[in-house]
Structures are given as structure tokens and as C-alpha cells.
Amino acid sequence: MMATPAAGAVPAAVLLAADRVGRKFGSFTAVQDVTLHLGPGEVVGLLGANGAGKTTLIRMLLGLLGTTMGEVELLGGPPDLERRRHLGYVPQGLGLYRDLTVSENLAFSAQAYGTAPPDLPEALRKGAGRLVAELPLGLQRQLAFLIALAHDPAVLVLDEPTSGVDALARATLWDTIHEQAEEGVGVLVTTHNMAEAEQCDRLMLMSAARLVAQGSEADIIGPTTALAIRTDDWARAFAVLNKAGQPVMLAGRDVRVADAEADLVRRILADAGVNAEVSGVRATIEERMMVLSRAPEGP
């Protein structure tokens, strides 16, 4: 279901577009041949390991960094200052002035955008006179959101918006994100928390500068499979598979191996005298990413 853009939002089928963009730093290619379209009301999750190129891509999308290949279009044109007024951005470091109070931070950004300071939710109202540095992280994140949303942006770019906060604070932040999307805002979000993939309408996975998969969680996981190993002696199963160089992972009292041959795993376990039941299961996004990182030439 696609929400209709709210009055005042810029009507466009695509709010933010990157067409085959790339970026080189000297001989190093940080981003190569990435195409991305963000429409009104969409929540798109950008996933990838460190060094995959997410941050460079985001900086190009925000107009903070030029491309060395391809074009970025924000609201139908280049991401210049005027168009960037319709962007809301919450960086990983939150971008707040830690040595100013909550009210002072709000007043500063309101003045920069020429808008009125937004109304504060109760939790922040109580702390309006406190220095940002003294606030719990969950409240700091709420404040950064409030500031990013105060000028009614058409596009919201969020870099790791929920890092470090508890499950309930995370749910509150996702509420805000979905409310924005329902009003027609296009949202691009990065996360290291793969459980949050379910919060996104669409996912994009980057690895080694390229976009390697996109779509639903199943599309991202693609052909990657995993084995679940049920045994009374997980420690020994883990140890022998680890020693054999298998990408092994502990899950409760079970052991998992991503992208492995069941026969080989059974043989390794049998040779070590470990009694185990080996069955094929759906891989996780992490496992897909781990497999990609072991084969840097891509899928």
C-alpha cells in the first residue's frame, strides 16, 4: 500500500534517485554502479557491512559528496541547497550540540531552517532546560528526530537511528518513522540490527561497493542456506566445525553453519564422534552477509 503525499509535500513519483552512481577516491572504488529510487511513503532499508559503501552512498544522496559516475536527483533535480531544505537527516552521531540545552538545540535548528520550534513530547519537555549531553540516549535520539522532522521534510535519511536504545524506545522511534511514511515522506534508513529489516517495505544490500541484492528479506537472503545442528554436546560440535574452518555459529544450544554442504558437515561431526542431527534451515540476513564477506568478488 502506498500512502498519498500530504499537502505541501512535493508531488513526485520518485523523491530521491541515484542512477548508476559511483564514487572513487583515487584508485579506491567506494561505490560502484548503484541505482536506487525512493518513492513517497516508502521505507527502504539500506544494509551492509562496514566498508560496503553505505556511508559514501548516503553522502552522495545528501549532496554532501559529488559522484564520479552517474547522477543523484533529489525532488527532480540536483541535490542543491534549495532542494536540501526538503531533506531531514539524522546522522549516526545524532548531530546535536551536546553542550547546548534541548531548547537551545531546537531554537538553533528552527532558525537555520526558518521554521517555528516544534512542540515537545512530555518526556523532552521535562528536560528542555537540560544539556543534551546529560540526557539518556533514547531521549537524545527522540530530539534528533524531532529536529530532523521540524521543517516537514519530503525525504528522511536516517543513519542507524535505533543504535543503543532499548526495545520500547526502538518501537517508539519506528512509530515515528512509519507515521512519517504514512504522510507521504520517503524514508531511507540504515541499520545494523537485522531484526529491523521487517520494519522496512524494501531492503537493499550493499557489499564491496556494489548493490548485491534488493527486495524483501527473502530476496536479500537469496540462495544462501544454513544448517541447524542439534546435539547434546554443542561445545564439541562447535569446536570441531570451527576447527574445520566452517562458518559456525552458536544459537542457544544448537549450532548453525551457513552456506555449508550437509554431507561434509555430517562427516566432520561423525569423524569426531559427535552425535548430531543436521537439517537444512532458512539462512538469516547476517548469514547472507557473512557469506558475501567471505567471497568479496560478490554473488
Partner: protein
């Protein structure tokens, strides 16, 4: 030998940082302490390693030289190389000569840091730095390993790597406790302790925690009671206590750890701030 904290209470001035919290850490297993900023995770782990004194309650821990501790904020000296960091900590624990060299090389190899041995810690990525901190905490092969948020803020691939290191330590017999903000890590641990505002939300194996949940969770596009609902993608999950009738036709879901932790957090906070 089982380690842990029994009914621990800690006050910081007027703030009750830990309110009757118990933690059990058994050899050969990983316990995850899960919660957000300010939940009490660090205070609990610091009380276990003897850096915070309990007001009430008891700590069962081995002597300091038998504990490996990775603090949340530091873990390595940025102006030393990877190898120097390892050697320095190894020296503190009385390792020297060939013994130190072989232990260091083995740990760096396991953490895929061998090729970075001569790099300054300040030049490492966040994930590599946490792996270095982990290796330093492991240098004296401690029976109790206490890791404060080893995985916060690092990317999923490094997290998988770290989890493998943590599992290796447990497989070799260490009692491991790690704090985390990620529920999936708590799900993967042998048992978990969920904290919120210094209080216990849930405790036990994943199966125990899920089984202890009372009430019903429904899935719905427009919640009946907004204050008791939270997003799961475009839809909401909504909590219904056992004494409340679930609306007819509502779609019931089997609660997962996220549903349970969110519900318990809501209930605990409601308790603390009566309407």
C-alpha cells in the same frame, strides 16, 4: 563453579541503579544481559567484577586475576599497536617470553587480526577494535569472561565474528556473560536476563522467557488501544492482559522475544508511574 550476583541492589545517590537483580553465569555457556541505555547492564557487570559495591546482595566471582573484563567504552590503548596492546595486558597477568608470544599469536589469529598486528589500535575499524578488546580480555585464559556491550555499534559481519569468538570461549569451558542491546544476541545465548530501569523484566532460557509470558498478542492494522500497541512493519502488535477480552476476530500471534520485552517494559513502567 557457578558465578553470579544474588539479589543485587545498587544506589547511585538518589537513583536506584539495580533493584534486586540476580544473574547466574555457568561455565561453558553464554548469558546475555539485554537492555537499552540506562537499563543497569553496566552496573550489574561492574558489580560482578568488583568495580561497583552492592548495597545489598551477594557476588560470587573468582579473584580478579581469573576474570577477563571488556568494559563498554575502552578496551584498548589507541596509541599502542595491536601486538603492543596484547603484550602489555599479557605482561600484567604475568605472561612473558614464548608463552606470551604464542598466546598472543593464537588469539590474534582467531580474531582475524594477525595481519593487523603492527597497526595502531586507533587505525582499526570499530569491529576490529572490539575484537582486539575481546582478545585482550582473553589473554590469561580466564574462567569468567565479562563483556560489556562487545557488539554495540559494529556492523553485522563483525558481530557474527565476535559471537563466534564468544562461543569459542564458552565451548572451551569459560563462563561468559555479555551485555547487549540486540535481542537477537539474547536469543542466541544459552540464557538471558532482560533489564529495564535497573529492574529484571525476564530471566532464563529463551524458551522459559517466552513460556512465562501472560496475556495475548494480536496483529492488527489499526490498534484498539494505541498505548498498548507497537509497530511490526506496517502493522501493529497489540497486548491484551489475561483478564481482558480479546476482540472477536482478532488475529493472535505467537509472541517472540521482542513482543515479550516490549510488553514487560510497558507493564513495569506503568507500575512505576501510576496514572
Amino acid at each position: 563453579m557457578t558465578y553470579g550476583v544474588r539479589s543485587g541492589v545498587v544506589w547511585f545517590g538518589a537513583t536506584l541503579a539495580l533493584d534486586d537483580v540476580s544473574l547466574i553465569v555457568e561455565p561453558g555457556s553464554v548469558v546475555a544481559v539485554v537492555g537499552g541505555d540506562g537499563a543497569g547492564k553496566t552496573t550489574l557487570l561492574r558489580s560482578l567484577v568488583g568495580k561497583v559495591r552492592l548495597e545489598r546482595g551477594e557476588v560470587d566471582a573468582p579473584p580478579p586475576e581469573a576474570i577477563g573484563y571488556l568494559p563498554a567504552t575502552a578496551g584498548s590503548w589507541l596509541s599502542l599497536t595491536v601486538a603492543q596492546n596484547m603484550d602489555f595486558v599479557g605482561g600484567i597477568y604475568g605472561l612473558s617470553g614464548q608463552e606470551l608470544v604464542s598466546r598472543r599469536d593464537e588469539l590474534l589469529e582467531r580474531a582475524s587480526l594477525s595481519s593487523s598486528a603492527d597497526r595502531l589500535a586507533s587505525q582499526l575499524s570499530g569491529g576490529m577494535r572490539r575484537k582486539l578488546g575481546f582478545s585482550m580480555a582473553m589473554v590469561h585464559d580466564p574462567p569468567l569472561l565479562v563483556l560489556d556491550e562487545p557488539s554495540t555499534g559494529i556492523d553485522p559481519v563483525s558481530r557474527v565474528d565476535l559471537w563466534r569468538l564468544v562461543s569459542e570461549a564458552a565451548a572451551a569451558g569459560a563462563a561468559v556473560v555479555m551485555s547487549t542491546t540486540y535481542l537477537d544476541e539474547a536469543e542466541r545465548a544459552a540464557s538471558l536476563l532482560a533489564l529495564d530501569g535497573g529492574r529484571t523484566l525476564a530471566n532464563g532460557t529463551l524458551a522459559d522467557v517466552l513460556a512465562s509470558f501472560n496475556g495475548t498478542i494480536t496483529r492488527i492494522s489499526t490498534p484498539h488501544r494505541r498505548a498498548w500497541a507497537w509497530r511490526r512493519g506496517r502493522e501493529y502488535h497489540e497486548y491484551w492482559p489475561t483478564d481482558t477480552a480479546v476482540p472477536s476476530g482478532a488475529v493472535t500471534v505467537t509472541p517472540d522475544l521482542e513482543d515479550v520485552v516490549i510488553t514487560m517494559s510497558m507493564l513495569k513502567r506503568r507500575e512505576r508511574e501510576p496514572a
